[in-house]
């Protein structure tokens, strides 16, 4: 992909992330987040992972963020917006984040790249990403797949049990 496109997508993602974290109104944060997810999905497309891009939008932006919105409505945001956004020690958090960023940056300088695998871009072009992923998921990674479905089942049951009102 061209540098320009990446430049736009990258900076947009960063800006939106900053907005998510610093917005006063939680609903605004969620909306910025959804916007950021779209840009992220575009990046995935650029990397040749179409299936993941679709999943990202469907699951993350579509389901999880909607869940967040519902919860925000249940809680009383009018009251919350009256308080301070950041806690008292926010400079410490800022320094820590910045420090970690710089450190890891230095670390990635000495990165060693591993061996290349077999699924080249040509293979992906011929055989779609979805098909390739499906083939792997249902053969080599069938066990984690089933476990993931179990986890989702547990989450459903758990969420209902935890959040339901007591019947009087």
């Amino acid at each position: 992909m061209s540098n320009l496109l990446f430049g736009y997508l990258g900076s947009a993602i960063l800006v939106f992330s900053m907005l998510v974290v610093t917005s006063k109104n939680p609903i605004h944060s969620v909306l910025w987040m959804i916007l950021m997810f779209f840009h992220l999905a575009s990046l995935y497309l650029g990397l040749g992972a179409e299936f993941l891009a679709a999943i990202q939008i469907i699951v993350y932006a579509g389901a999880i963020m909607v869940l967040f919105l519902f919860v925000i409505f249940v809680l009383n945001i009018k009251e919350e917006m009256k308080g301070e956004r950041f806690s008292a020690g926010w400079p410490i958090g800022l320094t820590l984040a910045a420090g970690l960023f710089l450190l890891t940056l230095i670390m990635t300088d000495t990165m060693l790249i591993g061996r290349k695998g077999t699924v080249t871009a040509e293979v992906l072009a011929r055989e779609t990403h979805t098909k390739a992923m499906g083939k792997l998921l249902y053969t080599d990674y069938i066990l984690p797949f089933e476990v993931a479905s179990l986890i989702l089942l547990v989450a459903i049951v758990g969420a209902i049990v935890l959040a339901k009102k007591k019947l009087d």
């Binding site: 806690s87 020690g89 410490i92 958090g93 420090g99 970690l100 450190l103 670390m107």
Partner: protein, 650 residues
């Protein structure tokens, strides 16, 4: 077959049986075990003594006790003439005291305990005298001190008794400290602790100079004086005599056995045993002699005014022990041991007789409250009288021969010996005086006690009077083995009548005696005269002119007070030693070391940990973000350290 190891082993066995099984099983029959053990010991001892008289000498190591580097000591026995004499004394008096205790301690709650301690004491004393090396001597030395503590404080619920036991042990420790140093010096000098090796090589140190704390002296002098420290403590000489009068808190059989015949004589025995070392040091011998003489005089003067019958006899013991050291000081070790031998009999008799009197008077000790006991307790009276005559040096009785030999040896030694002879004669006079003071005040005249006491008066049971009679035989006849050549020639027609001195000369040699026969007769005559004057004076003051003692007392009031208060020595020691020790114990140890330092650490460390905990507690704020921040910080540090190490290493 070797029987002699049984001599100490049987009493030890008796001790264990009585102390382990005594409370539950044996109880009132404890005397059977105790007496059987000591009787067996006595029989074998007599057989062994017979062997020694026939010329045998046993020096055997039984087994190796300690080996540590260059230090090797065995448990062994040396039975020579000196040991034989001591064996006779220890086993005989111990046996008679055991028999006496049946009657005296009848009904006491600690009956079995008493016999077990008596057995243990007998064992310790036998180990002391039969050992063939200094470490075994020291073991026996300390063990008899321990038994003395047990027995003095036998009625431990009485505070004065337990205090007296402690006093005896602690005062002895002062002496034993010097004694231990002496033994260490012997080891350092000779490289061994066995008697034969040490005494064989003793001439190598003759006159060797030695500087200690800036004072120039000879090595033999130093060793001898250090060893003598132990004797001063154990045999209650000045300045460590203070424990013996207080030791009268113990039961009377204990006083008879330990503080008359055996334990206190261990000091004299030790000096006689180590005479090769003492002979090399005229200085030490002079110290020994002077200490003995001054102690003899000191104690005799105190005995003049005491009213407690046991105390008088106790001071008499201190005085007579002074005589024995006086003899050793002029080189007449044989004479000192001879006096030890005769003294054991008549002093034990005096103590057991006093016990008999106390038994009849239901525990009363004050002779001012007695009187006229002669007609109630004839056996006690006659045996007590015989013992007093013996100690006064009346011719024909045992005390005469031994005391006379000492006085003659002192006179014949010359130099300071003449001075010691003069003191000794004065003490003989005083001894006769106070001994007969007891007789006249307690047994003659009118009874001065209460009516209940008078009803209670009776002669003691056979178990108590038979030992008295047997000891009386000893008090009379034990001196006949040491008749001096002067008399022996005239009466028996032989020059070698002093069997005792001849017997012991194998071990202690012959002292040098410069004197003519006429001087010897003069000395003998003066000492007999001193004894008679003493008895006559006592008779005058306590039988005829009974107001005189009070008049003299009030006329010389300050002198009387000094004597009555034992020259205030106890008070002096209390001030110099006891109170500073308590002060140190309280201020330094309890308050500072224990209170501040140890408690400080024990309490302070948890306190500091608590303070640290309180500080660290502030980390737990309960706010999730703080914990997350700490985690992030940890990751930061971790990555940073890894990077630095990678950069440094790679």
């Amino acid at each position: 077959m070797k029987l002699y190891p049984l001599i100490p082993a049987l009493p030890l066995l008796g001790f264990f049986i009585n102390i382990l099984l005594g409370r539950k099983f044996i109880r009132e029959k404890a005397h059977v075990v105790g007496i059987a053990a000591v009787l067996g010991s006595w029989v074998i001892a007599m057989m062994t003594v017979a062997d020694v008289i026939n010329g045998s000498r046993i020096n055997e190591d039984l087994f190796t006790w300690i080996t540590s580097g260059g230090f090797k000591v065995s448990v062994g026995f040396l039975i020579d003439q000196l040991t034989a004499v001591m064996l006779v004394v220890v086993t005989t008096v111990s046996l008679l005291v055991h028999i006496y205790s049946i009657g005296y301690m009848h009904g006491d709650r600690g009956y079995y305990r008493f016999f077990s301690y008596l057995n243990l004491f007998t064992f310790s004393m036998l180990m002391l005298i039969m050992g063939n090396n200094f470490l075994q001597l020291y073991f026996g030395w300390e063990a008899v001190g321990l038994c003395s503590y047990f027995l003095i404080g036998f009625w431990y619920e009485k505070k004065s008794a337990s205090d007296a036991g402690k006093k005896a042990f602690i005062v002895n420790r002062f002496g034993d400290f010097g004694f231990g140093l002496g033994i260490i010096m012997i080891f350092l000098t000779f490289g061994t602790l066995h008697y034969d090796s040490v005494f064989g090589a003793v001439n190598t140190i003759a006159g060797k100079p030695f500087t200690v704390a800036g004072i120039e002296t000879t090595l033999p002098t130093l060793i001898a004086l250090l060893l003598f420290c132990g004797a001063v403590g154990k045999s209650a000489q000045i300045p460590l005599h203070v424990w013996l009068p207080d030791a009268m808190e113990g039961p009377t059989p204990v006083s008879a056995l330990i503080h008359a015949a055996t334990m206190v004589t261990a000091g004299v025995f030790m000096v006689a045993r180590t005479n090769p070392i003492f002979n090399l040091s005229p200085t030490a011998m002079m110290v020994v002699g002077l200490t003995g003489g001054i102690t003899a005089l000191f104690a005799a003067t105190i005995a003049l005014v005491q009213n407690d019958i046991k105390r008088i006899v106790a001071y008499s013991t201190v005085s007579q022990l002074g005589y024995m050291f006086l003899a050793a000081g002029v080189g007449a070790y044989g004479a000192g041991i001879f006096h030890l031998y005769t003294h054991a009999f008549f002093k034990a008799l005096l103590f057991l007789g006093a016990g008999s009197v106390m038994h009849a008077m239901a525990g009363e000790l004050d002779i001012q409250k007695m009187g006229g006991l002669k007609k109630y307790m004839p056996v006690t009276y006659w045996t007590f009288l015989l013992a007093s005559l013996s100690i006064a040096g009346i011719p024909g009785l045992a005390g005469f021969f031994s005391k006379d030999e000492i006085l003659w040896m002192a006179y014949a030694h010359g130099g300071y010996g003449r001075f010691l002879w003069a003191i000794g004669t004065l003490v003989a006079l005083l001894t006769a005086f106070y001994s007969f003071r007891i007789i006249f005040l307690a047994f003659h005249g009118k009874f001065r006690g209460t009516h209940e006491q008078q009803h209670h008066l009776h002669e003691s049971p056979k178990s108590m009077t038979v030992p008295l009679m047997l000891l009386a035989v000893g008090a009379i006849a034990s001196g006949w083995v040491g008749i001096p050549a002067l008399i022996g020639e005239k009466l028996l027609g032989t020059e070698h009548s002093n069997l005792f001195a001849g017997f012991l000369s194998h071990v202690v040699g012959h002292p040098e005696a410069h004197g003519t026969e006429s001087e010897e007769m003069m000395v003998m005559g003066i000492s007999i005269l001193a004894g008679i004057i003493g008895i006559a004076g006592a008779a005058y003051m306590y039988l005829y002119n009974t107001e005189l003692p009070k008049k003299i007392g009030s006329a010389f009031k300050s002198a009387y007070n000094v004597l009555w208060n034992k020259y205030y020595v106890d008070e002096l020691y209390n001030f110099i030693v006891v109170r500073p020790a308590f002060w140190v114990a309280k201020r330094v140890i309890v308050d500072t070391t224990d209170g501040k330092i140890i408690e400080g650490i024990v309490n302070g460390v948890p306190k500091e940990i608590g303070v640290l905990g309180q500080v660290l507690r502030k980390l737990q704020t309960g706010v999730l973000q703080n914990y997350a921040a700490m985690m992030a910080f940890g990751v930061f540090v971790f990555i940073a350290v890894t990077l630095v190490l990678l950069a440094a290493g790679g």
